[in-house]
């Protein structure tokens, strides 16, 4: 068990709460910095994908995990960012400028979606975002002069001031910097009044409103912030994948993103990264295991869907706090050893109460 003695106000303000944090996050940082020399080209590309999905996931986590607004159309924001980046980069814009534009445009779209979404909650919001996702996907497919339609659009390498990130490792560093900045932005936002307002809205809209939180403003802000991060992630995604087609931003992608934050652990920043590792790692794990399975199972096209679905069901049933929740339990077990009890994290059994009372 660790007891933190607070001896200065700076301790309350600092992001790293104790020496353990500094040590482990420092080590993680060093490992990530050294990754291009430690990993093969292929693994590095996968790590880059994990970082990119983390940025997108941070956005969705702020929206779903911290504001309690679920979006089933988040791939649309990813797509807006990706196509903006593609168009601007191909026009010769420097990388940071194009990425900022991608984020801003995505945020603007997020506000447009967020405004009507303010009137609806729960499942209606899900359906509104789902509909929006379908519409945006169709726009990508039909607006051929800009997006190249279904034939796809190629994206050139990111460049700025004569330097181009055209190798795997240089682009990896670009992604790493963006991810770290996005994470810090989220962490800092969460401990500011804005972040507290988000969490208050998640826990109870009416109590938040009674405490003087302007629901419409903060919900729109949350949508905009989330969409901006998704757009920035989309910009990186465009460079990493080099070739954009509308079906990369379809409903499956949206559900994958949602699956990522749910499996990672809703309401935890760590959950985003665990979820991203899971989302990128699972197809790799499946392709490794495939060879050992009989042909009828291993070679079947539906295997991936079955595994994804089964894992999702298992998490909702047995581990609603996600991978990070599992880690919290393991940590509590180790810290309290031998006093950990079975029921410490048990969900309270409850009956459902209706939202629609007259």
């Amino acid at each position: 068990m660790r007891f933190i003695f607070k001896t200065s106000y700076a301790q309350d303000l600092s992001l790293a709460k104790h020496e353990g944090h500094r040590f482990w996050y420092g080590l993680l940082g060093l490992l990530l910095l050294a990754a291009p020399w430690l990993l093969s080209e292929y693994l590095l590309a996968q790590l880059t994908f994990i970082l990119i999905y983390s940025v997108v996931g941070l956005g969705l986590m702020m929206l779903a995990g911290f504001t309690g607004l679920f979006s089933i159309g988040h791939a649309a924001f990813l797509g807006v960012g990706a196509y903006t980046q593609a168009v601007l980069t191909n026009m010769g814009w420097p990388f940071p400028l194009a990425m900022a534009a991608a984020g801003l445009l995505s945020a603007a779209v997020g506000v447009v979606v967020g405004l009507p979404a303010l009137r609806v909650k729960g499942i209606y919001l899900g359906i509104a975002t789902l509909s929006f996702g379908f519409i945006v996907e169709e726009v990508f497919a039909r607006w051929e002069s800009v997006t190249g339609g279904n034939t796809g659009k190629t994206v050139s390498a990111p460049q700025m001031l004569g330097w181009a990130a055209d190798t795997g490792s240089s682009f990896y560093f670009v992604c790493l910097v963006v991810t770290v900045l996005a994470t810090l932005a989220c962490l800092n936002l969460l401990r500011s009044p804005t972040g507290r307002a988000f969490v208050a809205i998640r826990d109870s809209e009416i109590s938040a409103q009674s405490m003087g939180i302007h629901l419409a403003y903060y919900k729109t802000l949350s949508f905009a912030f989330s969409a901006a991060l998704a757009g920035i992630g989309g910009a990186l995604y465009a460079h990493q994948i080099r070739f954009l087609t509308p079906d990369q931003f379809n409903i499956i992608q949206s559900i994958d993103l949602l699956l990522m934050v749910v499996i990672g652990g809703l309401g935890f920043i760590h959950g985003v990264f665990l979820g991203a590792i899971f989302l990128i790692g699972l197809p790799q794990a499946i392709s490794v295991v495939k060879d050992f399975l009989p042909e009828a199972i291993g070679g079947a096209p539906g295997l991936k869907a079955v595994v994804y679905g089964a894992v999702l069901v298992a998490f909702v049933l047995f581990e609603p706090m996600g991978l990070y929740g599992r880690w919290l339990k393991i940590r509590a077990y180790l810290q309290l050893f031998p006093f950990y009890r079975q029921g410490m994290f048990k969900r309270q059994k409850s009956f459902q109460k209706s939202d629609r009372l007259k």
Binding site: F70, P116, A117, R119, V120, G122, I123, Y124, G126, I127, A128, L130, S131, F132, F134, I135, E138, A141, R142, S204, E205, I206, S207, I251, I255, L258, L259, V262, A296, I297, A300, P301, G302, L303, K304, A305, V306, V307, Y308, G309, A310, V311, L312, V313, V316, L317, P320, R347, K349, S350, F351, Q352, K353, S354, D355, R356, L357, K358
Partner: protein
């Protein structure tokens, strides 16, 4: 005349949407959760009917009954094994759970060797028959859809309105705990609701199969039934049907009069407008939330 013809095919398509939407509304009305697996249940029902007819060689009526009974059992099992353990958890958990169930169902069907990845034709007795009346042509398949949908939604409406069972379902949807205190077996009721919804899905699948085909991805049409349910108001059974028909007709007209591409998104444009103008739908109850 062409306009009328378009409207008729739109209504037929809309009835399918309405039929799937009825499943959503049924589950929502009774348990206040939303099932994203409804489209996949429909796909399973269609495959069940197909297997009964082609592999087992059942006659048509027996195959339909068998598929419906099988799906009812599947619905019961689904509720018992997966939904009941997380009763009372946030509604979103159940949404994610049903998305997972949908993935598994779709994946398992495609994993069936040499069967699941193909598209199949469901051999129904009324295939390729046409009904002609005053220059209008109505395929028998579409007529069947319209008639059966009307009958089914009438039956469901009566169930909720007049029977003890339906009223118990309404009570448990408003406050499960209070319903429990009143002696309503909430959990068994939920099982029944899921079974009923699965049967509805099976019927929708069997009706849709002659119009399209039977294949693993036919469940995606379920995503178009959401707009139908929302337009009708998520809590109204006749509303789901009307919503489905509106969506179907708009889609059919948009496919003909508007440029290519509008057909696929017409339903979603309609639902977004609806959510902006009248979030509770056409027939939904206007309700506010208590703290």
């Amino acid at each position: 005349m062409q306009f009328v013809q378009l409207v008729i095919s739109g209504v037929a398509l809309g009835c399918i949407y309405g039929l799937i939407a009825l499943g959503f509304v049924l589950i929502y009305k009774a348990t206040e959760t939303v099932s994203f697996a409804q489209g996949e249940l429909m796909m399973l029902g269609a495959f069940g009917g197909l297997v009964c007819m082609t592999v087992l060689g059942f006659p048509f009526w027996l195959a339909v009954l068998a598929a419906m009974a099988g799906m009812a059992l599947f619905g019961l099992l689904l509720e018992r094994a997966l939904i009941r353990p997380i009763l009372g958890q946030p509604a979103f958990s159940i949404v994610m759970l049903t998305i997972g169930v949908g993935y598994v169902a779709r994946g398992l069907i495609t994993m069936l060797p040499g069967f699941g990845t193909d598209t199949h034709v469901l051999p129904v007795p009324y295939k390729d028959q046409l009904l002609q009346a005053g220059g209008l042509i109505v395929p028998m398949e579409q007529l069947m859809v319209m008639v059966l949908t009307a009958v089914l939604s009438g039956l469901l409406f009566a169930l909720f309105r007049y029977t003890k069972l339906g009223i118990a379902m309404q009570a448990s949807s408003q406050n499960q705990l209070a319903a429990y205190y009143m002696g309503i077996p909430v959990q068994r009721l939920n099982g029944l609701v899921w079974a009923l919804a699965a049967v509805m899905a099976a019927i929708a699948g069997l009706l849709l199969a002659p119009i399209t085909f039977v294949h693993a991805n036919m469940g995606f049409i379920g995503l178009k039934a959401f707009p139908a349910a929302v337009v009708g108001g998520f809590t109204s059974l006749p509303g789901a049907l009307v919503g489905g028909i509106i969506i179907g007709v708009v889609e059919s007209l948009a496919g003909f009069y508007l440029p290519e591409g509008f057909k696929d998104i017409a339903a979603y444009v309609v639902v977004l407008i609806m959510l902006m103008v009248k979030p509770n739908g056409l027939f939904g109850e206007r309700l506010s939330k208590k703290v």
